[in-house]
């Protein structure tokens, strides 16, 4: 390791040079370091090294205690112990669904068939989310270490990282990290002189949001169209090439080394009883400091906006969308709901991928929803008709609303369609179309109705079934 970088680490200075394509990401990384009082008080788990070490040098990662957790796991602990620690920690999947990670691992561990696979889901396509990219760019070894520990726990020897094709820098960083780890014997054969072998390969996506869904991802990895599969069988039983497979999000895996190193008790000190740990959010929209933050679970939206995001950049707060385009819309009344899996569930929302989009009063709800629907039209895989055609109908309805060419039937149709999608769509993509729509109808119905009322002769509007364009591109 170069003298200069050692000095920098000793002095606790951020090592900025190699963080990313500098000109672009400065705002993001700066933010991580902005509020020293707050972050010191809370501590960081996932982003601890991001911005502090040079991600391209394995020595720097090792210098901060990297790969110790893997060594400890292999030398001192049995696979069952690892799963128990992860279960006790209460870690839940950070990819969107919030499924308990320890439990998921135990399913894959039970399977007798081999080979087994560990897959890191780095397809990050949810609009507004870029946390996985910055974790991969800022601390790639942590993900590799997390994957290796997972592989040891479930009895796998091969791992894949499925990265979306746009993340060139992440791909380069991870490729380099894998090479360096192999050189030092931290990946490959007989890791730490035990009989545990583990190799990691990279698979590159080609631009499809639905491929982030775990079974669609498996199809894509096998070289097919990325359409979701019927569950069950779950990937733990029959995943990649029909073998037992464990899939986890980047952030989930990055939580693993610190948990193994410090124990479940330590992890539970962060966050809430039901949702321990921290969460990395990407915050954006009409705020002063868009970027990435890592805060404990259970913090409120108000705190995020006014303490971390530096307040609104213009205008007054109107609404926020939580969890990306597939997430619900929260009005001002919910500013003080704690952001964790349980509290949001009670309100009928989901933490999702951790994107928080904050909007001021200049954003019309119709316009915003129209844009959300455009996204779904584009990304619906087309496997089931309710989603393929329903998203299109929904998009058109919002367009009519915005263009003031709708009557009250349109609102009714939107509501019915959203309920139907929630019930019958084949995969969570189609089902989640309902979350922004229904939450908007719940909190902003008055505003949506106004779009109709403001058109004086709305009663004369009649509409035929709109032309449905089949477009398989």
């Amino acid at each position: 390791m170069s003298r200069r970088s050692i000095d920098q680490i000793l002095e606790g200075k951020p090592y900025k040079k190699l963080l990313s394509s500098e000109k672009l990401q400065q705002s993001e990384i700066d933010l991580v370091n902005t509020d020293p009082k707050k972050t010191q008080y809370y501590g960081r788990i996932v982003l601890d090294n991001c911005g502090r070490i040079n991600p391209e040098e394995i020595e720097e990662y090792i210098g901060t205690g990297g790969y110790q957790a893997l060594g400890m796991a292999l030398k001192e602990k049995k696979p069952e112990d690892i799963i128990k620690i992860v279960k006790d920690s209460g870690l839940k999947g950070r990819g969107g669904a919030g499924f308990p990670t320890g439990l998921k691992w135990s399913f894959a561990a039970q399977e007798k068939e081999s080979p087994k696979y560990v897959i890191c889901n780095a397809d990050e396509g949810e609009p507004g989310t870029f946390k996985d990219r910055l974790i991969m760019e800022g601390d790639p070894h942590k993900i590799l270490e997390g994957m290796a520990i997972c592989a040891y726990a479930i009895g796998a020897n091969i791992g894949y990282i499925y990265i979306r094709g746009e993340y060139q820098l992440s791909i380069q960083r991870l490729e380099k990290a894998i090479k360096e780890a192999e050189k030092l014997g931290l990946l490959g054969k007989n890791i730490f002189d035990t009989d545990f072998d583990f190799e990691v390969k990279i698979k590159i996506g080609a631009g499809s949001y639905v491929c982030g869904e775990e079974t669609a991802l498996l199809n894509s990895m096998e070289g097919f169209r990325g359409e979701p599969r019927l569950k069950p069988p779950f990937p733990a039983k029959s995943g990649f090439l029909s073998k037992p497979t464990n899939l986890n999000n980047v952030e989930t895996l990055a939580n693993i080394p610190p948990i193994i190193l410090n124990g479940a008790e330590w992890f539970r000190k962060f966050g809430t009883e039901d949702s321990p740990g921290t969460k990395v959010y990407s915050i954006l929209g009409h705020i002063n400091r868009p970027g990435l933050i890592e805060v404990p679970m259970g913090i409120t939206l108000r705190e995020i906006i006014y303490d971390y995001a530096g307040g609104m950049s213009s205008g007054e707060f109107k609404m926020a969308q939580i969890g990306g385009t597939a997430g619900g819309i929260l009005p001002i009344e919910l500013l003080d709901v704690p952001l964790d899996y349980l509290s949001l569930q009670i309100e009928g929302h989901n933490l999702g991928s951790g994107a928080i989009l904050i909007m001021n009063e200049t954003v019309p709800v119709v316009d915003f929803l129209e844009c959300c629907m455009k996204f779904f039209v584009h990304e619906s895989c087309g496997r089931c008709s309710i989603c393929r055609i329903g998203t299109k109908q929904m998009y058109e309805s919002f367009k009519y609303l915005r263009e003031k060419e709708a009557n009250y039937d349109e609102l009714k149709k939107i509501e019915e369609l959203a309920e139907a999608l929630k019930l019958v769509a084949f995969c969570p993509l189609g089902q989640s179309v309902a979350s922004p729509v229904l939450s908007a109808l719940k909190y902003f119905r008055a505003e949506l109705s106004k779009e109709i009322d403001s058109n004086e002769d709305y009663e004369t509007i009649t509409r035929e079934m709109s032309d449905i364009v089949f477009d398989y591109s």
């Binding site: 507004g128 996506g205 080609a206 097919f224 990325g226 954006l284 970027g291 909007m359």
Partner: protein, 167 residues
């Protein structure tokens, strides 16, 4: 590289198909996958043409029609939309005279609308081939495009001369 070399590089198993398609597209100067390479690939990997096309057409990064040397992908997702993606499209349209899905006559630029590129912290954002550009506004767009056009001066000149000879 020939198709065979690309297939050998990644392996001829079906699960490497996406990587191979990326390889084929990236080495094409017009950034697309042409008919000939699909049929060659079909023979090489023993997968029917229909299946290769069916798979490739699922993914938005692959194209079957020739594109420009520089593919401009502007993000259309809600976060970028809120912060002014619309005006980015307008600025590009004004500057290059192309709409979404079109390519400039000199074969330099193709404009595409895309879903979130994962650089929303600097919205509105776009990618030109593999370079990311964020915090865009009209002025910045003009600067970026000017710079590329400056680099490609010769090609543009050549194109003009060729066009003149046709009259």
């Amino acid at each position: 590289m020939t198709i065979k070399e690309i297939v050998d590089k990644y392996g001829s198993k079906r699960e490497n198909l996406l990587q191979i398609l990326h390889g084929i597209q990236n080495q094409n100067p017009r950034n697309y996958i042409n008919k000939e390479s699909i049929s060659a690939l079909s023979k090489e990997m023993n997968i029917p043409v229909s299946q290769i096309k069916g798979t490739a057409s699922f993914y938005s990064m692959f194209s079957f029609i020739p594109r420009g040397k520089y593919v401009i992908r502007v993000c259309e997702s809600p976060p970028c939309h809120l912060l002014g993606a619309e005006s980015i499209f307008k600025a590009i349209e004004y500057k290059l005279g192309i709409m979404i899905g079109e390519t400039t006559k000199d074969g330099l630029f193709t404009l595409e609308g895309t879903s979130c590129l994962g650089i929303c912290g600097v919205a509105p954002a776009m990618m030109i081939n593999e370079d990311v550009h964020g915090n865009l506004n009209e002025e910045k767009i003009f600067q970026i495009l000017d710079q590329i056009q400056e680099q490609e001066k010769e090609r543009i000149q050549l194109c003009r001369e060729e066009a003149l000879t046709r009259f």
